[in-house]
């Protein structure tokens, strides 16, 4: 009987949902998303898997299913909450509760029914994912063999448990609160929490805790698949063990508890009493029995309708709307959550390896905008629906609609209230970041910047609010309105991905508004204002249309609505819309004039096409012999206010090719940077080229390529002059990709950006394999082999030895910097002039800077140290100078003398990102990096480290230039890392270096798991940062540990002496390795192979560590574990190889090291007995993680006391008195 009832309710619930449109809409939308995701390769950018793994790698499928279970949460909540709330909303609960239906049957029938529907939905989504494999446009190369296992696994292990757990939780919330609104707010809070846990896990690196606490299993999945290589991704399924298993068990029990709670707390009688109508407290007692005796005379108040009346009504209505939001529980919940988020984010923003930054205002603003973005979008969309439909939802529309206030009063009040709410959020965010600033003792607040940031942020949400209100007004239904808004937002994002990038049709779009403390908002302000004005008019049109379609009175069909709108098309609304439309069109035209006529509008597809064109057309000149630039003279005039630069210069070209040179290809568009293709397109003008008698072969203004044939060939050994006159004139503004180099304060450009360049530039080739495939280009050419002698003719900086002589001028308030030493300095009118000159050839990488700098001067021996910095950033000047001195000390003592008489550190705007460069005697340093890091006592001193690294480049790049072959960055970057580590060891000790290396290990393992082509051994590294920086640092420090600092430095010094200031053929990594090899003892020669020639990994692990106190007061520690040695190929496929390695074995006590020795381990099972003097606390195999180990934290174990037993006594062997350690 009972079972039958349960089944009955279950069946009713399922049928109910199958009759509702939501199920079908959700199945369609989510299914389509899944299909597109799998079939278009959007999956390659969605999720954590490496881009080169299969699109349907098992872990990718499981990850996608999990993400879908999170997206689907909103729908599932609708099912589940409706199952428990429906009866209350429809007022049908008395029908059920008075029937003899058991509570269990009612609740569980409803829950199970809604769950069944949710599960069915995800089976459909999964089927759509499978279908995505088989669509015709699928790229079959990117797929692995089909298997149903990962789909089933994902459903059973991740999706179904997630649905059950979240279903139970939100069922409980709905049953308890009786309010759809509260339930949805909990969902939003849940999503945000999920995100926060995910973020914090990344930030604080506590993967295990994060894995447990994050309810959907996403973090657990990421933990399990962490450091997976492509090979592993393609075959392996994340094991249901460890953190994933614990996570599933934990959350399933949480779900069970909630389900139990909702059962226990639910009672029919409370249910009835809790319903809305019956819940009111009557106050009959306060109503008097009879009418008052005294007759009240109706007061006579005049209704005044003047021009001002509607405005007063609008003010009052705005206050009313805003107050009702601000007082509501949803607002308070969102508000508090948001502030917690802002606060957390503001304290961690800008951190580098755990080192915080000074809380400068622009970073605080960024913390506010980034952390609030999601909340505010939710707030605006959610409350716009609430406000637009509020009168109707409360049934008050009948009264308010008949009041003598024009439509715009209500419409305007609602929009204004929304904006006020947003403003309240942002203002509170600012107050919290000011708290963060003051509490860390930072008092240099910038109220003006806060004000501007506040306006910019609020304005963007104002535009969103108008759009959202408009969508609500025309969609005639709150939930359709919400759905439409989501579609609009996704559509805006999707259009961008599809290459529709113009801000003229991206609602609210504007060119990026970048901020730099040095340059303020600078030249980004003007385009931002124009776009804002344009979209302001756009929003005004929407506002006007909203007024035309504003619902007043009863709901009417669409046709009547249109007729009504036509009837309302008169008077002020008509004027308003017309003016807005005129404004919209005319500002739009002005923007278009700037972005498409004064400048060139280049969407990504076009940029890719041009780059491909360049490659197709001019690749033929790739191997053409070229003269080399041996001297550069130039006169540069920088006009910061106009963002204009005039350059007149000349190259001395020498033929060192050994054959006559006739053809001279010259490129004048400015060579591309990594992220910024042809940044000066349209602004860089070639005014004149001056070269001896020639014939024009190619004159391609479009790509800026000119090829000349000299009438008289340049003979070997001969030289010629090439004069040039170029200027950069900024006109108007661009849609995107505005030049970041020539700016009001903080001009920073390189010779390669503006000076003409010779020959074909490989740097302009398209790097992305996908773009190349689509353009029909062959795969990008790999770096030349390490022993390719022809390639050693050029170096990897693509710059030869040359001298510089520069006269540079700028405005009076700025200092201009060019390569070499200041020869002269003078003022003329409102210009300041400098003449700089190098005293010896330098690598032809030159940068020119101009800004209003403060200068700190110091010296080391006869080297002048200068720091050029922005007045607001004085924090780390001494540290920079100190690190420079210690670096110079160490490098000159152990390597070779420093080649310059000066070293300049120059602060440049943060447009270049978080980075620093090293050029001859000059180190440009991003303002957001070393200048605002706040190194506390226990932090890694990243300021000094980065300084030391860049100073080291004066040797590793500027004394020895690596050839453009494999292994080049081993010389330039890895050796700079090593040098900086040595400086760090001197300055802060070995413990800090080890701490630093923990980050390097993590970044290396993370980097290799994202490798797109193939991981190379260090010796053959092909400019892969995770190898030359992170693996390089680990390897060099370990090698130093094995063979000693002196030996390494000797090898480096000899390498430098052999190759410094050498022209072609340039140095390669084989040469370096030879010197290193000589310093390694015979029994450790295997290290060279393991560290440099192959990818070798270790798996060291302690499985048991126990001690026994001996009679003489010493301790005998028994240490068991494993030590395996693995070789990986470029795809990460590992094979175990025999071990015969020297590995640290250590025992540590309260005071530190009790025993630490390198022992030769020859079999994977390790067992040692060690005698130590002090009480052992920890023991480990490779305890300092000198070797690269994917699981670094199991190399140590705390030592426990061995239980006393006779057997242990018997097994005691005679101690070898000479050695404190023996195998067991």
């Amino acid at each position: 009987m009972r079972l039958a009832t349960w089944k009955e309710i279950f069946r009713f619930e399922v049928k109910y949902h199958l009759r509702q449109p939501l199920f079908y809409i959700a199945a369609f939308a989510l299914g389509l998303l899944a299909l597109l995701l799998v079939s278009t390769g959007a999956s390659e950018v969605f999720g954590k898997a490496p881009a080169s793994a299969f699109r349907d790698a098992p872990a990718v499928i499981v990850g996608h299913l999990t993400i879908f279970s999170i997206i689907g949460l909103l729908v599932m909540t609708a099912f589940v909450a409706s199952s428990v709330l429906r009866d209350f909303e429809l007022g049908t609960h008395p029908f059920f509760f008075t029937k003899p239906v058991r509570k269990f049957d009612y609740l569980m029938g409803r829950f199970a029914g809604s769950m069944a529907i949710s599960l069915a939905l995800f089976v459909i989504v999964t089927a759509a994912m499978v279908a995505g494999r088989f669509v015709p446009w699928q790229d079959a190369e990117r797929l692995g063999p089909f298997s149903a296992v990962p789909y089933v696994y994902g459903l059973l292990v991740l999706v179904f448990p997630n649905l059950l757990v979240m279903g139970a939780v939100f069922f409980a919330v709905a049953a308890w609160s009786r309010r759809m609104l509260v339930t949805y707010l909990c969902v939003v809070a849940f999503l945000i929490l999920q995100d926060v846990v995910e973020e914090l896990t990344l930030t604080f690196k506590n993967a295990f805790l994060g894995s447990l606490l994050e309810p959907t299993g996403l973090v657990a999945l990421e933990t399990v698949t962490r450091y997976w290589t492509v090979a592993e991704y393609n075959v392996a399924l994340p094991a249901l063990a460890g953190p994933l298993l614990l996570n599933r068990l934990l959350w399933l029990s949480v779900g069970a508890v909630f389900l139990g709670l909702s059962y226990a707390r639910f009672s029919y009688s409370r249910a009835a009493a809790g319903s809305r109508r019956a819940g009111k407290k009557f106050s009959e007692e306060s109503a008097p029995e009879i009418a008052p005796k005294e007759r009240v005379v109706k007061p006579r108040a005049a209704q005044r309708f003047s021009f001002l009346t509607p405005w007063r009504q609008w003010l009052r209505q705005t206050r009313f709307e805003a107050v009702t939001i601000l007082r509501g529980a949803p607002f308070i919940v969102l508000f508090v959550t948001t502030l917690v988020f802002v606060f957390t984010f503001a304290t961690v923003i800008g951190q580098n390896r755990g080192v915080p930054v000074y809380p400068v205002t622009y970073l605080m603003l960024r913390a506010i905008t980034v952390s609030m973005q999601m909340f505010l979008i939710v707030v605006v969309i959610f409350y716009s629906g609430e406000l637009v439909w509020r009168e109707r939802a409360l049934g008050i529309a009948g009264v308010s609609d008949a009041l003598p206030a024009p439509n715009w009063v209500f419409l305007g009040a609602k929009v204004t209230a929304l904006v006020l709410v947003v403003a309240a959020f942002i203002a509170a965010g600012i107050l919290s970041t000011i708290t963060v600033q003051l509490s860390s003792g930072f008092t240099h607040l910038k109220p003006g910047l806060y004000a501007r940031g506040f306006l910019v942020a609020t304005y963007s949400y104002l535009l969103l609010a108008v759009l959202s209100v408009f969508v609500q007004v025309i969609s005639k239904n709150k939930f359709i309105g919400y759905l439409l808004m989501i579609v609009v937002l996704l559509g805006r994002r999707g259009a961008q991905i599809l290459g529709f990038e113009h801000n003229l049709y991206r609602y609210g779009g504007h060119s990026p508004l970048l901020y730099s403390d040095m340059n303020g908002y600078g030249h980004y302000t003007e385009p931002y204002l124009w776009y804002s004005l344009y979209w302001g008019f756009g929003a005004a049109i929407l506002l006007g249309l909203s007024a035309l379609f504003w619902m007043r009175g009863v709901e009417i069909p669409l046709k009547a609505q249109l007729a009504l709108a036509r009837a309302r098309w008169r008077g002020p609304v008509r004027v308003f819309i017309t003016v807005a439309a005129v404004g919209f069109v005319s500002t739009g035209a002005y923007v278009y004039y700037n972005t498409n006529i004064l400048n060139e509008y280049l969407p990504r597809a076009e940029r890719v096409r041009r780059r491909a064109d360049y490659e197709r057309k001019y690749r033929e000149y790739r191997d053409e012999p070229l003269p080399r630039i041996t001297a550069v003279r130039s006169e540069i005039d920088i006009y910061p206010d106009e963002r204009r630069v005039e350059i007149r210069g000349s190259y001395r070209l020498e033929n060192m090719a050994g054959e006559p040179i006739r053809t001279l290809p010259i490129s004048t568009v400015g060579r591309s940077d990594q992220h910024d293709y042809l940044p000066f397109r349209g602004t860089l003008r070639l005014n004149d080229l001056d070269l001896p008698g020639h014939r024009v072969v190619v004159s391609d203004d479009d790509l800026g390529v000119y090829v000349y044939e000299l009438e008289e060939a340049l003979m070997p050994g001969a030289s010629m002059e090439l004069g040039f006159d170029v200027s950069v004139v900024s006109r108007g503004f661009k849609n995107h990709g505005m030049d970041q180099r020539i700016v009001g304060n903080g001009t920073f450009f390189a010779n390669k950006n503006l000076f003409p360049s010779l020959g074909y530039s490989r740097a302009n080739e398209l790097p992305s394999p996908r773009d190349r495939r689509r353009q029909g280009l062959p795969p990008v050419e790999r770096t030349a082999a390490v022993d390719d002698d022809a390639a050693r003719d050029r170096n990897y900086l693509d710059a030869d030895w040359t001298t510089y002589e520069t006269t540079i001028s700028t405005s009076l308030d700025q200092i201009a910097i060019a390569p070499g030493y200041v020869e002269d300095e003078w003022s003329e009118g409102d210009r300041r002039y400098y003449r700089y000159k190098t005293d010896a050839p330098v690598v032809n990488l030159a940068v020119f800077m101009s800004a209003d700098y403060q200068v700190a001067r110091d010296s080391w021996n006869d080297v002048a140290i200068e720091v050029y910095y922005h007045a607001d950033h004085p924090f780390n000047i001494e540290r920079l100078i100190e690190a420079t001195k210690i670096s110079l000390d160490y490098f000159t003592a152990h390597f070779t003398p420093y080649q310059h008489r000066q070293l300049r550190i120059v602060e440049v705007p943060n447009y270049i990102g978080l980075t620093a460069f090293s050029l001859a005697s000059t180190i440009p340093f991003s303002e957001s990096y070393g200048f605002i890091l706040k190194v506390r006592r226990r932090d890694i001193d990243m300021v000094s480290y980065v300084t030391a690294h860049e100073v080291a480049h004066q040797w590793w790049n500027h004394q020895v230039i690596p050839a453009d072959v494999q292994g080049a960055t081993l010389i330039s970057e890895t050796l700079s890392q090593y040098s900086a580590l040595m400086v760090m060891e001197k300055m802060s000790g070995a413990a800090e270096v080890r701490h630093f290396l923990e980050f390097e290990l993590d970044q290396y393992l993370d980097g290799r798991s994202r490798e797109q082509v193939a991981e190379m051994p260090l010796l053959l590294v092909e400019n892969q940062p995770y190898i030359h920086y992170n693996r390089g640092a680990l390897i060099m420090y370990a090698l130093k540990d094995y063979v000693g600092e002196e030996a390494i430095n000797r090898a480096l010094r000899r390498f430098l002496e052999a190759t410094a200031f050498q022209g072609p053929p340039y140095a390669n990594s084989l040469q370096l390795l030879d010197y290193l090899r000589e310093e390694v003892p015979a029994e450790m020669q295997y290290l060279i192979e393991d560290m440099f020639e192959t990818i070798t990994l270790f798996d060291g692990r302690v499985t048991e560590a126990r001690y026994r106190r001996l009679d003489d007061g010493t301790y005998r520690v028994t240490l068991r574990g494993t030590a395996r040695k693995l070789r990986a190929d470029g795809q990460g496929m590992e094979t175990e190889i025999p071990i015969a390695d020297w590995i640290d074995v250590g025992v540590f006590g309260e005071e530190g090291v009790l025993f630490l020795e390198k022992l030769r381990i020859t079999k994977p099972d390790v067992c040692f007995e060690v005698l130590v003097d002090g009480l052992p606390m920890e023991a480990g195999i490779d305890p300092y993680n000198m070797l690269i180990d994917r699981v670094a934290n199991d190399n140590r174990m705390s030592v426990s006391e061995m239980p006393d037993s006779g057997e242990a006594q018997r097994s005691r062997s005679e101690p070898d008195l000479n050695r404190r350690i023996s195998p067991c």
Binding site: S283, A287, K298, A301, F305, R327, D401, G553
Partner: protein, 296 residues
């Protein structure tokens, strides 16, 4: 004077809510009587500028009600049949807010008006209380208070007494008749007594058609001497209904009182009854329905 001419309204689902209604409503209380679904609320909403009609015109003292909605709203006091409240706002604050929207922008005058109306509707003592805690009657009184804000020339109250207890209803009708002097007040109801007690003019509508207009007293006077009643057993009712023009049947102490219309005494134990407005109402409905073949 509100003049309605040839007003018609057909809903999208085919229901004819108003069929060619023409009506003159003078100053004073005007009762609009009709069963549920007769079209009363549609008519009221149309007058209150909340609904469009398909055809017809409507003028209030020369002002085009259908065309000049904004102007009409300035003269309007409207109490809808059903309305909600902002549950967390106090009666006083809400009324003050509505007063602003009604154009009472002078602070002092507004305060006087709000206070006065709160006293008048007996809500003075609970003015600080949240509207969400109000009982049905208190809410209704609040509704009338907001409808009276300003100096409305046209007051429309739709089914105002539904849900009120008898005492509250009485108090409400008293209030209404007090303020109804000098302005047009339209009261729609399906309770005949409401009209009989306070209205000087009335109309009966059903299925969207105007059936009857007149002075309630005249209308019931017309029936004087023609209404007969008799107390019968329940099972006899059917046969009376077949043989006589039964206007209404009403249960009384377990038996049924049958009222019939007849120019002369029907005999058979029927006695003369005092004709009242209810007889007029039922007679009118009955006649129309019979004419339209709508006998229930």
């Amino acid at each position: 004077m509100l003049t309605i001419q040839n007003l018609s309204k057909t809903y999208a689902n085919g229901v004819q809510a108003l069929q060619d209604v023409s009506l003159e409503i003078p100053k004073g209380m005007f009762g609009l009587l009709g069963p549920n679904g007769a079209g009363k609320s549609t008519l009221m909403r149309t007058i209150a500028t909340l609904q469009e009609s398909d055809t017809g015109t409507m003028f209030l003292n020369g002002l085009d009600v259908l065309g000049e909605k904004e102007e009409v709203r300035k003269l309007l006091g409207y109490l809808p049949q059903e309305f909600g409240v902002y549950p967390r706002v106090s009666a006083e604050a809400m009324l003050d807010h509505f007063a602003i929207l009604k154009g009472i922008t002078n602070g002092k005058e507004r305060k006087e008006t709000v206070d006065g109306l709160l006293r008048m509707t007996n809500l003075w003592d609970v003015r600080k209380q949240r509207l969400g805690t109000f009982s049905g009657g208190m809410q209704q009184r609040f509704g009338i208070a907001q409808a009276l804000l300003g100096q409305p020339k046209l007051i429309i109250v739709d089914e105002p007494t539904a849900g009120l207890d008898p005492e509250e209803r009485q108090r409400f009708l008293n209030l209404l008749s007090e303020i109804g002097e000098g302005v047009v007040v339209i009261l729609s109801t399906h309770i005949v007594d409401d009209v009989g007690e306070i209205c000087s003019r009335m109309a009966i509508i059903d299925t969207g058609r105007l059936l009857l207009t007149g002075d309630p007293r005249d209308l019931s006077a017309d029936l004087a001497g023609k209404i007969w009643k008799k107390m019968v057993d329940k099972d006899e009712v059917d046969s009376y209904q077949r043989s006589m023009a039964v206007i209404s049947t009403r249960l009384f102490a377990g038996r049924t009182v049958v009222r019939v219309h007849s120019e002369v005494s029907p005999g058979d134990g029927f006695e003369l009854a005092a004709a009242d407005l209810e007889d007029v109402y039922f007679m009118t409905l009955r006649e129309t329905r019979e004419a339209g073949g709508l006998v229930n």
